[in-house]
Amino acid sequence: MTGRRVLTAAVIAAALVGYPFLDAALHVHTIHAVTDAMIYVMLALGLNIVVGYAGLLDLGYAAFFAIGAYAMGLLNSPVLGSPLYGHWWSFWVIIWIAAVISAVFGVIIGAPTLRVRGDYLAIITLAFGEIIPVAIRNLGDITIEVGGVRVVDRLNLTGGENGVNPVGRPYLPGHLFDETPASWYFLIIVIGLASLWAMNRMRDSRLGRAWMAIREDETAADCTGVDPIRTKLLAFALGASFSGFAGSFYAAKLQAITPGAFEFNVSIMLLCMVVLGGMGSLKGVILGGMIITLFDRLILAQMTFLVRGLGRSLGVAALTTVDLTLWRWFFFGLGLTLMMLFRPEGLAGKRVRPPRVDVDDEAEAVALAAAPPPPRAEAIPRWLRERVGANPGRDSGGRPLLEARGVVRRFGGLVAVNHVDLVIPERTIVGLIGPNGAGKTTFFNTVTGLLTPDEGTIVFRGESLVGLRPNAIVARGIARTFQSIRLFQNMTVLDNILVGEHCRLHASVAGAVFRPPSVVAEESAARARGRELLAFVGLADKADELAKNLPYGDQRRLEIGRALATEPRLLLLDEPTAGMNPRETETLTEFIGLLRRELGLSVLLIEHHMEVVMGISDRITVLDYGTRIAEGTPAEVQRDSKVIEAYLGKGYEAELTRG
């Protein structure tokens, strides 16, 4: 396997190095087109971070290309008198400055778009993509008059419609670029490979997992300890920085730039490259970028030549004047449509439809007959015991773990939660029951920060939670699961757990790329912990499967595993046994009891299965129409006439007295 990989790498390296010589020897003159194609590949790779990894649809990415190109153009040109122009080092220094400027703009543009998703985000980026070329055009000639006095007279910041010309070239000692096209080719290869290396490492890091978690389910990511704002800004900034490199190279190679080169169609073409290749796949995006640019630059021109020749020899006049390059958007559109119809995952994307399998009946029957593995205290990972169990906050001097007082939450005129008090002591399981629509989940959401209470206080270990974002609340030790399971579907089981560990890890962007020993150690320890945790929840052999391929019961257990990975003191479970059969329900009930007994966790439990709630809760709070109508031990609550009337029903009461 590794032998083959070395061989593949060697072949690719030889092809990359040998190509320009072959091109020169054969006099085919394709090297300029190939070099330009690589610029677009770089851009598409940068866009892939935003669209493919973080799942943020950006329709104005050409704006960053423009910013990168103009950063290089303006700083490395005599037009505006830049002091950085004219040195042998100019290009090599400015390319970094351009990347930083692009990243800064990434943050500036990213910031207002962070609250929006989907269509709205796309529209805002679209607008931004339009604004930048317009701004560049208009900032070339600024005159400001205040009361008849010209404060600013015909100031030129960008070169305006004429653009910037000339732009300085890169120099290497004893070698001037532009004498041989191969030097440009090798320069973009070096920049491209370095970028690829960095992106590859980012993807397989704490940060890459956070991006994918955001893409899969932003709310669940937030509630698992990933800060969505920071994570999305990093995607915008890093995605933009790569376009800074590509833009710099573009400006230097062309030695002149004009605003017309960065219009909307460039953004769309880049997006096409990412989609054609396969969102999120580095290989695919490279392939998509090369195919589209080379098709545009080489193949359409050659085909035009062929068709005209054909027309002449056949005597068809219409064919002799055809220009297929004018049809490029038609061909792109056609290609993309066919792609979406027959291979929506892209050229190199993971197959969405795996081959049909017919599971062996006997194996299945055995799996069904065997009850889900019973929870065992010995299987609790040691690290979990140490980090969660031996928590210094354990002896809080009798103070409850969580204390909610007078919590109110309104939706318009509806009071969903109405002055609710709820106290959760250490090592306690509290049941929260009530009719559908009574406000149980709304109350959950106020505790976990998805909703801010309109009134009241929520104090966790002496600290107020009101106004904190969900991820900040996770970091303080509260984890949750959802009524309808919300896993990161297209991530592996282990990666789901690792996203849970996110808030306990520290690797930064630089750490992710350069991987110092501390980061390597942290990452491998996190994986080891994740695998132990999977063994504990009974998913040891499924670590590398995609979460969406797990059967229902396993998905529930993975969601609880993910919550445990955040090292919580308090676990909020929203109908954990919904859709489980009695046997699975029983196992899960034991499991929840085990977490309390062995780890000293407290649990707040919404549940409709009465045998679960009544069986393991120490205290039960009953809500009806947002108001607490009862609180007490299970025995007290289930005999309460208000609870029977509003929630349990006469049938339950009858069964209780009978059995």
Binding site: R356, G579, P582
Partner: protein
């Protein structure tokens, strides 16, 4: 059991995604019956309903309504033929009002006077919906959404009503209510095929039941027989 069953699946094999979820299922529902299908997660219950509804096509086997094969008929036409479904997870239209949701249930019908009657009938069965006619479906509580999903299916005036997990996520008192309503609907003449996790309640209201395990029917009998059987008691009722 001499007459042709109203709904019949014969040796049906269906893939759900890439998994062969049904491996030769035969189920017959006679006119006027409540028949329940019980089984674990992933056993093939929902796949069976989807095959009846036509959102999944069987690889082999036949689906017949009133003696006529309908495997080649599209889902929307099956609604016209008299099959309607209240799907798992309710799947109501969240941004449309309760009234609009119900109106859409009768989308395939042209008999306006009868639609009006059915509308009244649904609101009589579910008085809660009458109070909320102008409210958006998405703002209803879980129990109300379940009522809306069933009500919407009834608006198609089906001869066979398919119910997928109507008790899921409902409070005990609502579970009772829903099952009472299911019996009412049946008494008014609608044949019902009911899929349930809550085997105890389902078998109590059903005339007959089928136990499905990994895509095969392993047991069938009247509701009472199944309630007393060892397999059902151990696996699906959680008794020791």
């Amino acid at each position: 059991m001499s007459a042709t069953p109203l709904l019949e699946l014969r040796d049906v094999h269906t893939y759900y995604g890439n998994i062969r979820a049904l491996k030769g299922i035969s189920v017959a529902v006679s006119r006027g019956e409540v028949v329940t299908l019980i089984g674990s997660n992933g056993a093939g219950k929902t796949t069976t309903l989807k095959t009846v509804m036509g959102t999944l096509r069987p690889l082999r086997g036949s689906v017949s309504l009133d003696g006529r094969r309908i495997d080649g008929v599209g889902t929307d036409d099956r609604v016209r033929l008299g099959i309607a479904q209240s799907p798992e997870g309710r799947r109501i239209f969240p941004r449309m009002t309760v009234l609009e949701n119900l109106e859409l249930g009768a989308f395939a019908r042209k008999d306006h006077a009868a639609i009006r009657d059915d509308f009244e009938r649904v609101l009589t069965l579910f008085p809660r919906l009458r109070e909320r006619l102008a409210q958006k479906g998405g703002t209803l509580s879980g129990g109300e959404q379940q009522m809306l999903a069933i009500g919407r299916a009834l608006m198609a005036r089906p001869t066979v009503l398919l119910l997928d997990e109507p008790s899921m996520g409902l409070s005990p008192i609502l579970v009772e209510t829903i099952f009472e309503i299911i019996q009412d609907i049946n008494r008014q003449g609608t044949t019902i095929l009911l899929v349930e996790q809550n085997a105890r309640m389902a078998l109590r209201v059903a005339h007959r039941g089928y136990v499905i395990q990994t895509g095969r029917i392993v047991l069938t009998g009247t509701g009472g027989e199944l309630l007393r059987s060892d397999v059902v008691r151990k696996t699906y009722l959680g008794e020791k």
